[in-house]
């Protein structure tokens, strides 16, 4: 008989989710702020990788959190808050991006822009940041050229570091499909990046 296991970190995360959701339901206005602080970076980065533009990522992030606010009261806890918010982000990006423009437009050249707050790791030195920015541009550009299903799977796995079963839950597909999309996405991305070297 199989034994289901759950990590201590996951237990802690679920407890944290329950506590903040309960407070939100009881009218504690700080609870939503905490949710924003906890997930804003995650949502913004995912939106950025899917949209390829920081401006669109900001709009998408704002809209995603509005959705989260509207539906948080009815969140049933069938998944972690993180998975739920990831799913909202993916669905919202699909919806919005399909209306805004074709999904394979090249990314704008602004990964590390004029604004000082773009990078999340201010501890790195200028040279290191410059190298990271070059790599970041190359990768981000390649990602925007991938077909959407492959892009979503690769971003969730290789940028966000999620496990296959988490990705399957977010994308609402089987783990086998996730495995296939990641492999095909990586292969296409490798070819795209090689062409651009």
């Amino acid at each position: 008989m199989g034994v289901a296991t759950i990590s201590t970190a996951a237990v802690h995360e679920i407890a944290l989710d329950r506590e903040v959701i309960e407070r939100h339901r009881c009218g504690d206005a700080q609870a939503f702020d905490e949710i924003y602080q906890r997930f804003a970076e995650m949502v913004y980065n995912l939106a950025y990788r899917l949209a390829g533009s920081s401006e669109e990522a900001a709009d998408l992030t704002q809209e995603v959190f509005l959705r989260v606010f509207r539906h948080l009261g009815s969140f049933r806890g069938g998944s972690t808050l993180k998975t739920w918010i990831f799913r909202i982000t993916i669905n919202h990006c699909r919806d919005r991006l399909s209306r805004w423009r074709p999904l394979t437009q090249p990314i704008e050249d602004e990964m590390v822009g004029e604004v000082g707050w773009s990078l999340a790791d201010p501890g790195r030195g200028p040279e290191e940041l410059a190298v990271a920015a070059d790599e970041g541009r190359r990768v981000a550009d390649g990602l925007t050229r991938l077909p959407q299903p492959f892009r979503e799977a690769v971003v969730l796995r290789d940028i966000e570091g999620l496990a296959y079963d988490e990705i399957a839950e977010i994308l609402q597909v089987r783990v086998g499909t996730v495995r296939s999309r990641i492999a095909r996405g990586r292969e296409q991305l490798r070819i795209l990046l090689e062409r651009r070297v």
Binding site: G27, D28, A29, D33, S54, V115, W117, D158, Y164, R179
Partner: protein, 239 residues
């Protein structure tokens, strides 16, 4: 080698997302197949490059925008509850705390104002610039939250910029800029400047500090108010 591992299997192997039995088979194959080893290494390089891609921070004003939009959506519930209360119907339990927060907030604002006036009467040193009337119209009170809309503030003849280290209240065009000096609100200078500006507490939110910096280099950092679990959800600056 007469056969090679499919991309899908190699990719899952790299991620450690494969059954142990199959993993051993692949291990065995890789020991003897240079081509598959090279493909695996290529794949590993790509994944490392993806993982090294820099993480981005959401633009600081975004938190403020999200909060404003959320607040715009929220009042309907409050009015609904008020109507229920006036109609003698039972109130949803969640709304008790919201109502309590609102009342506490009104009391807090009043107390801060009274306290400010008392302090002005007894403690403002002659060198401290006196303020103009509080721009109450710029303060929005909704659901127990207060947002101070303006991003600059005039203290006597000096214009200060509201600058939040966490990025909530940053004047447009000054994003990411660091104040030249910082003065703790507990220091005599900080206290002198803040004595007649206790309502600055209105701009503070849980866990956030605000830095006031003037163009001539005067800077005051306002300590975060006491907070988590505070019954009003907000507290004034204590200087």
């Amino acid at each position: 080698m007469s056969f090679h591992i499919r991309d899908e299997m190699l990719s899952a192997y790299l991620d450690g997302e494969i059954e142990p039995a199959r993993e051993r088979t692949i291990d065995h194959h890789l020991n003897s197949c240079e081509e598959c080893r090279a493909r695996l290494n290529g794949m590993r390089g790509l994944v490392l490059e993806l993982r090294r891609a820099p993480r981005l921070q959401p633009p600081p004003p975004l938190a403020h925008q999200v909060r404003q939009q959320v607040m715009e959506q929220a009042p309907a519930g409050v009015w609904e509850s008020l109507r229920a209360l006036l109609a003698g119907r039972p109130l949803h339990p969640a709304m008790h705390s919201v109502m309590a927060m609102g009342l506490a907030l009104v009391l807090s604002v009043s107390l801060v104002r009274v306290e400010r006036e008392q302090r002005l009467a007894r403690t403002v040193p002659p060198a401290t610039p006196t303020s103009t009337e509080e721009p109450v119209t710029d303060v929005q009170v909704l659901l127990g939250r207060v947002i101070y809309r303006q991003t600059t503030i005039q203290l006597g003849d000096i214009e200060f910029v509201l600058y939040d280290a966490q990025g909530r209240f940053v004047q447009e065009g000054l994003e990411g800029s660091e104040p030249e000096t910082r003065v703790d609100s507990r220091s005599p200078e900080g206290r002198a400047v803040l004595t007649d500006r206790t309502y600055l507490g209105l701009v503070l939110d849980e866990g956030y500090s605000v830095v006031l910096s003037s163009k001539d280099g005067r800077t005051v950092e306002v300590a975060p108010p006491p907070l988590r679990g505070a019954s009003s959800g907000w507290a004034g600056v204590h200087v």
